[in-house]
């Protein structure tokens, strides 16, 4: 019960200590609302990428040859490695939420750092092994395209779709890394506990959507010829 004589946080029951906004009745309400808000936000992310998938479909319908040639020029092995890297990071992210629920903060910190490492590895493979060489060979989007061995005049469009889709996805990876780092700092400062891990859970949800979108992008760009 809340003592009416004291407004000190420490004198309140545990579940009330972490109510952030005065407009919530209970911490559970606040947690549910935060999760609902995050799910709605993730719906908007899916719709954003849905636009890119539409663009892919329409452009592929208009220029099937260019898209077939283009996807042959991607190395599926890099895509596959990156898929594994992201799946592993999704697992460690999920585990860090579990760690927070069980109060295992040392493991939680390790899992978060490992997730960050995977995200960095993903970006490194993307930039160093994929973007870099392709860009210098002239496999560039739209007007910047100057790859001399193109066999279809519309191949620049393929590279536009490729760079837009993977580039916007990579931007989400970077934002995700920033969020995971923020969660890590808060973990170090002891902000989370078995009944208070809203930020961990929501950042986890965000990270899973980043993973999920890649799982759609990988076959679409690398595997379908």
């Amino acid at each position: 019960m809340t003592s009416i004589h004291s407004t000190s946080v420490d004198n309140r029951p545990y579940h009330e200590r972490y109510v952030q906004g005065h407009h919530w009745r209970t911490a559970d309400d606040e947690f549910d609302a935060a999760k609902l808000g995050m799910w709605l936000f993730l719906a908007t992310e899916v719709l954003l990428f849905a636009g890119l998938f539409c663009a892919y479909a329409v452009m592929r319908m208009l220029h099937p040859e260019a898209f077939s040639n283009g996807s042959h020029l991607l190395d599926w092995r890099f895509g596959a490695i990156n898929t594994v890297v992201l799946l592993v990071s999704s697992y460690t992210m999920a585990m860090s939420i579990r760690n927070a629920q069980l109060g295992q903060f040392a493991r939680m910190k390790f899992n978060l750092i490992f997730t960050l490492f995977c995200a960095g590895l993903f970006l490194f493979i993307k930039l160093y092994f994929e973007y870099g060489p392709k860009w210098s060979q002239g496999k560039r989007p739209g007007r910047l395209f100057n790859y001399p061995f193109a066999t279809d005049p519309n191949e620049p469009i393929w590279w536009s779709v490729y760079y837009c889709a993977t580039g916007i996805h990579a931007t989400h990876v970077i934002i995700g890394m920033a969020l995971i780092f923020w969660v890590y700092i808060r973990t170090v400062r002891g902000h989370f506990g078995p009944k208070h891990y809203t930020a961990v859970e929501n950042v986890g949800l965000y990270w899973h959507i980043v993973d999920l979108i890649w799982i759609f992008l990988f076959p679409l760009l690398y595997l379908i010829h």
Binding site: I4, H22, A33, G142
Partner: protein
């Protein structure tokens, strides 16, 4: 009736003990006030901040409209072809150049459209009145995410800043729809298009955040005892709007991003010269921008439901029908974008989109019939809010019904891109959203600022707005049917007289709004103090003080009756002397002391 359950504690034992007084109460010094407002997470203050911002942009967009109409008073003449006559007022010092005149006209027209749509109509009612009243009407202390709410206001201003920056650099002449390949062609206002489009992208974030916040608020923060069908209809309307905001806005996000990439990197997805498809842009654009029409109109419909029930003092006729029709409109909103592309898509698609478009008429008509049925045998108080509500039914019906010939393929081919379309969407957007917002402002002004607005001044303003608006736009239907194309800076002599009528109408309209501005300022400084419930409303916001306490309610309200049970419930705190009625109420009128 709405009761205060005194067995509950005053609050939940957190950090808000004691009575804080009105949310408008000064913190002492002017700087303390500025910092307090700039960092506030109070939904009421944020609502007022939005109100100031959107009304400022309404003024900017309105100024552009008056410039355009004044320019069209006289057609531009070309000295080279021997056509002589007046000169355009927008060709500042080169009256002989039709090219320069057309360019200036296009820029001002684009800004008028872009400012009005993205900075005024879309955030208009939900962000200002919605922010202020949605939590009050469901008995909550605040929206679900107060910090996100403040953040979205800053994001909105930041986005608007980009758009205004482009104005400083000379503006954009693409039209507010930014159709490719014209907007993606390098020759056209390169940096300015990027700036405006980036502004739209950023404002989209603000719209998503506001919508998301409202959806969660309605789901999670209703007062004890308030089921879904005890919610006021304004809340239903804002809820449906918020769903569209969340589901449609990401699409304009990706569209604007791709357009920015198109301009900066020349990616070619929308550029036919590089193998892209400009019609894809139109599909993307309208997949957002058609639902947006309902983001604009649904909150206004919610306002009208409140005004009609309260000022006619009748239970709303068909509450469930109105609530579900809001959701139905939100759903159908996503199915009809193709009717903007009748002339650029296949026959089958056009037929399907035409049929789907007719569906919108059903839930819309449900609302209109229910409002009219509510008015039947009501004790109607003809104050400004009610007059605007009645005007809404008229102008919005004109707007809706004139949409049918545009949804019909055969007639649309004749009317496409004529002034008929211009008149139609102004009847829907101005006659819908702006008139609805004026109704809402007059309905809730006493609650927001604790002051009554002078009825004689406001009714004068209303009369001028109503006459001016109809004079401006009814004539444009005739112009359009006669073949006057839209977006032209010039016209043949046969249209001169009709254009002049329309321009004079726009001046009357502007005068009406200046009178409203005066009425609001007059109310702020000289207005009579408002009682908590001047109209005798039964929804929860009338339970709060006027202006509301910083924490909305001293005690958590417990809902024990519906929002419109005027037959059974005597409105609390309702003093008939405060009703600015034209004549005393007839004996036996229900719902009064």
């Amino acid at each position: 009736m709405t009761t205060i359950d005194t067995s509950r504690p005053a609050d939940h034992g957190h950090d808000d003990h004691g009575h804080h007084g009105s949310y408008l109460k000064s913190r002492g010094s002017i700087w303390a006030d500025i910092i307090n407002w700039a960092t506030t997470v109070d939904h009421k203050k944020i609502g007022v901040m939005y109100l100031v911002a959107v009304l400022f942009f309404f003024f900017c967009g309105g100024l552009m409209a008056i410039l355009l109409r004044t320019d069209l008073l006289d057609p531009i003449r070309d000295t080279a072809t021997g056509v002589t006559g007046g000169s355009s007022f927008l060709v500042f010092n080169k009256p002989e150049s039709i090219g320069a005149a057309g360019q200036n006209y296009n820029r001002i027209m684009t800004l008028h459209g872009a400012i009005m749509v993205f900075m005024f109509i879309v955030p208009g009612i939900p962000a200002s009145l919605g922010n202020f009243f949605l939590p009050l009407m469901i008995g909550a202390k605040d929206v679900a995410f107060p910090k996100l709410n403040l953040f979205s206001w800053y994001v909105y201003l930041f986005g608007a800043l980009f758009a205004l920056w482009s104005v400083g650099m000379g503006g954009v002449e693409t039209g507010w729809t930014f159709y490719t390949p014209y907007s993606s062609s390098e020759a056209v206002d390169h940096a300015n298009v990027v700036l405006v489009v980036l502004g739209v992208f950023i404002m989209g974030f603000s719209s998503i955040m506001t919508g998301l916040n409202f959806v969660v608020t309605v789901h999670k923060l209703r007062a004890p005892g308030m089921g879904w069908f005890d919610m006021p209809l304004f809340v239903w309307a804002v809820y449906a709007t918020a769903l569209i905001q969340v589901l449609a806005t990401p699409v304009i996000g990706i569209t604007t991003l791709l357009l920015i990439f198109e301009r900066v990197f020349g990616i070619g997805i929308f550029d036919p010269a590089l193998g892209g498809d400009p019609v894809l842009f139109q599909h993307f654009f309208w997949f957002y921008s058609h639902p947006v029409v309902y983001i604009m109109i649904l909150p206004a419909m919610g306002v009208i439901s409140e005004c009609i029930a309260v000022h006619a003092r009748k239970p709303i006729f068909g509450y469930h029908a109105i609530a579900f029709s809001s959701l139905a409109i939100a759903g159908v909103a996503f199915l009809v974008w193709g009717h903007h592309l009748f002339t650029s898509e296949g026959e089958l698609a056009a037929v399907v989109f035409s049929a789907l478009t007719f569906l919108v008429a059903i839930p819309t008509a449900v609302k209109v019939f229910n409002w009219v049925s509510t008015l039947y045998k009501g004790s109607i108080a003809l104050n400004t809010a009610m007059l605007y509500a009645l005007a809404f039914i008229f102008t919005f019906s004109v707007g809706g019904l004139t949409g049918l010939p545009l949804a019909t393929l055969a007639t649309d081919l004749h009317l496409h891109d004529t002034y008929y379309v211009v008149a139609h969407f102004h009847y829907v957007m101005f006659g819908g959203m702006v008139i609805g917002m004026m109704a809402g402002l007059h309905h809730w002004w006493p609650k927001m600022f604790g002051k009554m607005v002078s009825e004689p001044i406001s009714i004068t303003g209303f009369a001028l707005v109503f006459i001016g608006f109809n004079l401006t736009f009814i004539i444009q239907f005739i112009l359009g049917v006669n073949g006057m194309p839209r977006r032209y800076a010039s016209y043949i002599d046969e249209f001169r007289q009709m254009h002049q009528f329309s321009t004079i109408g726009s001046w009357i309209l502007a005068l009406g709004f200046l009178i409203h501005l005066f009425a609001f300022l007059h109310s702020m400084f000289k207005g009579k103090p408002a009682p908590a419930n001047p109209w005798g409303g039964l929804t929860l916001e009338w339970e709060a003080d006027a202006p509301p306490d910083e924490h909305n309610f001293a005690h958590e309200p417990l809902v024990t009756h519906g929002p419109y049970d005027f037959d059974d419930v005597v409105p609390p705190h309702c003093d008939p002397a405060d009703f600015p009625l034209p004549e005393p109420l007839p004996a036996g009128a229900k719902g009064h002391h």
